[in-house]
């Protein structure tokens, strides 16, 4: 029975209300990580109130009550410390309304408003997290939302699993359309941008090196980036992922520049172009092409095998052979890079730049300065001197440890080189550069990551935060900047294998984290598998942008014209709708009504045009009487037709030909419709 007021007039059942509450909870839970947590109690409060009302224990709140409750919520939001105009505020307001609405869910229409808002909130979640986990959860929320919509529509309380299964099936039917939209929807660059909440940014490399920083990173097993090599994978010990260059030393901390400037300014200062980089290089060895997907860090630093000569993707060259993102990395960023790791860099370095790499505080660490001078005096050449310093780390009893003693004095280099002798890469790199500079050799610290974990299944390399490393570059005539890693002298396993092996005796690998896969060997294969899934997600789903889209389109369909695109999309939609028709059984032919009934219905339509309506329960006889009284001129025609119909339907003569009877009925119908036409003509004129 088609009834336009159906939705408005049907109240939500108790079961439907419970379903709705479940769906709302499912939708709101993940958002509670990013938005005020107290929104969930608000939901429980308002849904609980409504449920109590349905049980008859409580009264529905009046207008004033709703006003008070509503303004309380808004006041709570304003004092919660969220910036007034921000995404967080908009999402929180939406959530607040979403939570409150359940108090007002009385009619089915109200419930539909809640469910549709729920679908929107599922989308809002992706503004905060785009991980594969968030996507899976999104699918789950959609299923529960759809199931609750089903529960709301049916008056009978069906089993939970039945609703969920039906909802799953419905979503599955939408899958082809979803994929089509994903693949074909044009990717426009956003017309406007807003700052995403940065509180959630992961820890990454910082732009300063105080002994301790890298040790902190080494306690994190979060992935930093993943690399896929186009050709052969380089040896593990050659994997120096160069990121930041630290030039300035103030006696305690290494920074990029003398002034403490923010990353945004660093980018402007260092910005250069490909041409400049290529001019300062002498290419040696073969090029290495690889693609990298960086995790979000809220920083502009990127890490690559240096020097990079070609970038495909959204990144810029830095003057000191680094690469940087144009914007802070707020979402996973994919780049394809070409590097020549063996190339010579800055063979010719202007004296003022050499001076920059010789900077030292005017005083402090006297013993180290003295040591540098002594060793330099003993060495015939610069490279001999460098070798002597490197060997010193190996021959004397230095230890590689993630638990270095706290340095007590201000002369940290002296204390490290002569008394404590325990440290990790930052200590070694720092002291090495100090000695170089004290001897008048240009040198600098490089911070980045070293090594990575090879995933056999996915054929890619994952570099974790615990792979963070610091090493040095020394400028030599005719060779340019040459990489030296003093840590290699003390703990060769760190470079040749990984951090875990280097500190296996000490047992300090990820010691701050109890629950981590990387620590336990037996969980490692599971971890790698999960990581492999995440990598594929990053690469194929999140990394699918306008550029890859057009590449795919070209590969699939050749050169595209507007007409061709339209045709492809139209045919895809056609196939999908055909699939739907078949799977929903809509294409199946419905059993048709018998011809006599079809004829009778035409008779009804005919009379309806004359303003005579037949109620469903009206029998042919009663209807004929009604029609005859309203159209006396046609009374006999109507009666004859009806009598014929009644006879055919209810007392078909056994021996006579039903076909002939039907023919007779048709004739009657035709004469009736003709009579009506003439009637209309006469009354019309």
């Amino acid at each position: 029975m088609p009834d336009p007021g159906y939705m408005r007039r049907s109240p939500v059942t108790y079961t439907g209300m419970l379903w709705l509450l479940a769906a709302q909870l499912v939708v709101m839970l993940p958002l509670a990580f990013y938005l005020p947590v107290w929104l969930i109690p608000v939901l429980l409060f308002s849904a609980g109130w409504r449920l109590r009302v349905m049980q008859g224990h409580m009264e529905q709140p009046g207008t004033i009550g709703i006003l008070i409750i509503g303004s309380l919520g808004i006041i709570a939001l304003t004092v919660s410390g969220i910036p007034r105009v921000s995404l967080d505020m908009m999402a929180s307001l939406l959530m607040l309304g979403f939570a409150y609405k359940s108090l007002e869910v009385i009619q089915r229409r109200d419930a539909m408003v809640v469910i549709l808002t729920g679908y929107l909130l599922v989308g809002v979640l992706f503004l905060y997290s785009q991980s594969i986990l968030a996507a899976l959860y999104g699918v789950f929320s959609m299923t529960v939302l759809t199931a609750s919509m089903i529960a709301l529509q049916s008056s009978k309380s069906t089993v939970m699993l039945v609703n969920l299964r039906l909802a799953g099936l419905m979503l599955l039917l939408c899958l082809p359309l979803m994929i089509t939209f994903f693949v074909f929807t044009p990717r426009f660059s956003p017309l406007w941008t807003f700052t995403l909440p940065s509180s959630q940014a992961k820890t990454g490399m910082t732009d300063r090196l105080t002994p301790g920083d890298i040790a902190r990173l080494s306690q994190s097993d979060e992935p930093a980036f993943r690399v896929n090599f186009a050709g052969e994978r380089p040896a593990q010990k050659a994997l120096y992922w160069r990121g930041l260059v630290l030039n300035h030393f103030d006696g305690k901390t290494w920074t990029q520049f003398a002034d403490d400037i923010d990353p945004e300014s660093v980018k402007t200062v260092l910005k250069t172009n490909e041409y400049n980089i290529k001019n300062r290089l002498v290419k040696k060895g073969s090029g290495l092409r690889y693609s990298v997907i960086y995790e979000k860090t809220a920083q502009p630093w990127l890490f690559a095998l240096s020097p990079v000569v070609d970038i495909q993707g959204d990144a810029a060259f830095g003057r000191d052979f680094r690469i940087m993102a144009r914007k802070n990395v707020m979402e996973p960023l994919q780049l394809t890079l070409l590097s020549y790791p063996l190339a010579l860099r800055d063979v010719i370095l202007p004296p003022w730049r050499q001076q920059l790499a010789l900077q030292l505080p005017s005083q402090g660490n006297p013993r180290s300065r003295q040591l540098a001078q002594e060793l330099l005096a003993k060495s015939p050449t610069k490279s001999h001197f460098i070798q002597t310093v490197m060997n010193r780390y190996r021959t004397q009893d230095f230890y590689y440890t993630l638990r270095p003693p706290v340095l007590q004095t201000t002369d940290t280099i002296d204390e490290f080189l002569f008394s404590s002798r325990r440290g990790f890469c930052a200590h070694y790199a720092g002291s090495f550069v100090f000695l170089m500079r004290a001897a008048g050799i240009p040198a600098r610290i490089v911070a980045g990551y070293q090594g990575g974990e090879w995933n056999e299944k996915g054929n890619y390399l994952t570099v974790h935060q615990y792979d963070a490393h610091a090493w040095t570059e020394v400028w030599l005539e005719n060779q340019g900047w040459v990489r030296f890693d003093p840590t290699l002298m003390v703990a060769p396993q760190r470079i040749e294998q990984n951090l875990q092996t280097a500190v296996s005796e000490e047992g300090s690998f990820l010691e701050g984290q109890l629950l981590t896969f990387a620590k336990y060997n037996w969980l490692n294969s599971i971890r790698k598998r999960l990581d492999s899934g995440q990598y594929a997600w990053r690469k194929f789903v999140l990394g699918y942008n306008g550029e890859t889209q057009s590449q795919l389109m070209q590969r699939l369909f050749g050169k595209l014209s507007l007409l061709k695109t339209a045709l492809i999309i139209a045919s895809l939609f056609f196939v999908i709708s055909l699939l739907w028709l078949v799977s929903l059984g809509l294409a199946r032919r419905h059993p048709q009504e018998a011809p006599e009934h079809q004829l009778y219905r035409r008779f009804c339509t005919l009379l309806e045009k004359q303003g005579i309506h037949r109620a469903p329960s009206q029998t042919p006889h009663n209807f004929a009487q009604l029609a005859a009284s309203r159209l006396p001129a046609l009374a006999s025609e109507i009666q004859t037709f009806t009598n014929n119909y009644i006879q055919l339907c209810y007392s078909p003569p056994e021996d006579s030909d039903s076909h002939a009877t039907l023919q007779r009925l048709k004739t009657r119908f035709n004469s009736l419709s003709k009579a009506i036409k003439t009637l209309r003509k006469t009354t019309g004129t």
């Binding site: 009504e593 329960s617 029998t619 209810y650």
Partner: protein, 316 residues
Amino acid sequence: MNTTPLLHDINAALKALNQVILGKEEQVRLALSCLLANGHLLVEDLPGMGKTTLAHALANVLGLAYKRVQFTSDLLPADLVGSAVFDPKTTTFHFHPGPIFSTLFLADELNRATPKAQSALLEAMEEKQVSIDGETHTLPAPFFVIATQNPQSQSGTFPLPESQLDRFLLRISLGYPAATVERELLKGNKGRAALPQLSQMLNRESLLTLQKLVPQIKVSDTLLDYVQRLIARTREDELCYLGLSPRGAMALMRSAQSWALLQGRGHVLPEDVQAVFVAVVGHRIIGRKETQGEQLARHVLHSVDAIGGIGVKNSA
């Protein structure tokens, strides 16, 4: 067999009945068609609405042996079916039949009796025989039970469960008479006062013949389509808690045939089904949310299309 004189007689009987039970043509017709369909009748009404008069008049007109028992809570099954009595002359027990051995049995205020007494009656209604002391005694044919129930003042009653209500083919209620009819009644020469003037219009043989005619009334496929749509709706409607059982569906068909026979027709029309639908279905289905079965039956009747269906050829 020529049935015209029989139909003439039964119509005369109807006319005579309407002289006594004023302004209740529909109910009288339903009662008569219930009898012809070989079913039992449940009359649910307030006291003083003429339930007894209806039963008595039916008995008089159809020449049935009428007996009446007022059901009370201390009524025993033996009070209905009879008992074995010791005969000192022959020094043997011999069966003394109870009031149930009649052709029209009026069970007044059935719901006042205990379930035990109720079930004794219901068993007799179903089996058309009673068993006492291992001996089976067949009840006379036709055997017609009219039971009355007072829907109000339910205290101290044993309402019949649904399964037992199902034994009654039709349930009707008489209701207040119209003003003009009531005026006639107040004048005092109509209604119960006219009962003795009623003469027998049909004999037992004619009644049995008519009962045999009922199943022969033709039911077309189109009509079956309609009946099945009605049945399906009682099971699928969202107001329905308990739909019509197959036994109920058969009862509906039989009543409609009987109604058609009373109209003097050899086939069933949708009108016939509609006429008996509420009386047949009302006490057999249960609605949700305090919807009365009767209301629900009306709702179903109004919402189902009276015509249409896949018809003769396509269903074959």
